[in-house]
Each structure stands twice: as C-alpha cells, then as structure tokens.
Symmetry: C2
Subunit: 153 residues, 2 copies
Amino acid sequence: MSETAALRIGDLAALTATTTPTIRYYESVGLLPPATRQAGGQRRYGPDDVRRLTFIRRCRDFGFSVEQVRELVDLVSDPSRDCRDVLAIAESHLGAVRARLAELRALERDIAAFAERCNTSCAGGPGPSCVPLAQLAIAVGTGGTDRRIARRV
Amino acid sequence: MSETAALRIGDLAALTATTTPTIRYYESVGLLPPATRQAGGQRRYGPDDVRRLTFIRRCRDFGFSVEQVRELVDLVSDPSRDCRDVLAIAESHLGAVRARLAELRALERDIAAFAERCNTSCAGGPGPSCVPLAQLAIAVGTGGTDRRIARRV
DNA sequence: GATGCACCTTCAAGTCACTTGAAGTTCAAT
DNA sequence: ATTGAACTTCAAGTGACTTGAAGGTGCATC
C-alpha cells in the first residue's frame, strides 16, 4: 500500500515493541491485513503497517481486548461511523479499569494485613500452626456475596 | 474424613461461592483431594471440604495462582514446613500486586485523558477525523522501551 | 410404582491472547 | 559457495477455567 515496503517482520516488531509471533497472530485474527509478500514468501511492511500496529499496541496497552481493538480499528477507518462510538468504548473501559483498581487496592490492603499478622503472630513455627493461614479458612457462613477473583495480578 | 458427609457438589459450590465445574477442576488438578462418592458415584462433601475450598478460594481472591495455592495448601498441612515460607510467598505477592496497581493507575490516567481529549476536540465527527484516535498512531520512534500490556482489566 | 425434574456424571472442546517448539526455507553477507 | 540469522508454517502449550453433549442419579409427588 505504501511506496516503501522495506521492513521485515522483525523490524516491524522492533519498531512497535511486539514480537514476530504476535504480529503473525494479529494477522491471523484479522487485526492486521495480510502482509504483502516478497518473492520468497517473506512478509514485508511499510509505514502504514507501522502506524496501524502502533495503534493496535497502544489500544492493547490501554487494556482494550482484541475484540474491542478490532472495533476501534474498524471505527477509525470507516468514514461513515461516528467518533462518539469511540468515546463510548473508552468510557465504558474507564469504568472497568476503575472497578478493577478498587478491587486491587482492597487486595493490597488485605494481603498486607495478612503479611503483617503473619509477621507478628507466628514467625517461625511449623506450617499448620500458622494462625493467620488457619484463619483464612474460617468465617464462611455468608455464602459468598462478594465474589472477587483477582486474575493475573 | 468427616463424620457428616452430606453435602452435594452444588451445595459446596453455593457455600464457597464457586461453581460445580470449578470444584471438579480443582479436584482434577489436585487442589482438592478426590471426593468421597456415594453409591451412584456422586460426590459428597463434609465440613473439612468446605474449609479447604474456602481456604483455596480465599487464596485465589488474594490473587495467588493455582500453583501458589497448591504450595500454600501443602505448606499449611505439612507440620515439618516453616511458616516463614508462607510469609515469603505473601510478600512476593504483595510486590506483584503493588506493581500491577501502579500500572493500572497509569492506565486510568491515560485513558481518562484520552476520553477527555476525545470529548473536547472532536465530539460527533466521523471516525477517521477523530483526532485523539489518530494521535494514538503517532510518535513511534523510541522502539518501545516500556512494554506494559494490561491484560484482562 | 411411575413420573418428573433438578442435579449429577464424564469427557472433550472452547476461551483469550498469546508463547513455544519443531522442521524446514530464504536472505544478506562474506 | 557457505554460513548463520531471520524467516516460513503448523501444532501444541499456557492458565484457569467455561461450555456443551450425552447420559445417569436422587428425591418428591401423584
């Protein structure tokens, strides 16, 4: 698409701080268009590709899922669509980030308290006599109203 | 193991805010011991199982990986092991949580700024004319020193 | 005692966003 | 011409489950 299509996949990866498997993966799931190929079949890239992948990576850095990024990419290249859609996606995302932030802060508080108790009440005893650890298993009762699993901390 | 082994898997799931597939999954990966079975082959559980699963879930809530939880479970049931190991795991984990927290705060800041720009500079235009969106693709240059992908916000 | 139905069983495959590995091909430089 | 890095494809692995198919069990009611 561009006049200079001189970059190898490794160059593109270096320029955009991705890896070559990731680039191929993005192409395979349609986030990147099929690359132009050289005679021997190797992918070659130009400035347009750098821009597009940079955009994608930045969106991923923003925490958008690949699916959301696909939507954003479609949005930004379709003249008939409204920019307010972008704002809507961003704002819904901001809400998710803030919710996650609150969870993570609670997690930090809890685990710091745990470590503190662990430090003061049972430094050095055998495992089963660890009081804070044993306490983790108490106080079931409620039936678990506030599910909050912190995945991939 | 316990005198009363009257709970069905669904009851255990409700008591510990898990799901039945998750319980079977935990059993399959060795986090839970093989359940005692009734005549027809259905799993039956007692208070010990409630305690153990509660412990496991709480650890997961704390953000420990299943592998770490396995270590913790081993730790808490092995009299010969030292409680300080628990503390070490917890503290290394606390570090990870705090690092993640910093990332997430940066993400919140960035995305809020993005939404704000989006709001002020291009409310309502077509997608490709969205200036903030276009700006995401600029300023590559550096080669990406600070990789930070926010997975699963 | 039959019926209904919620709940259970196993196993396989799907999810997400890649990463890792194997086995072979191509490019650029010497 | 030869080396060796970088490329190619495809398949499988990761974590922590979730979802689906196809069928069996437990218990209360009629």
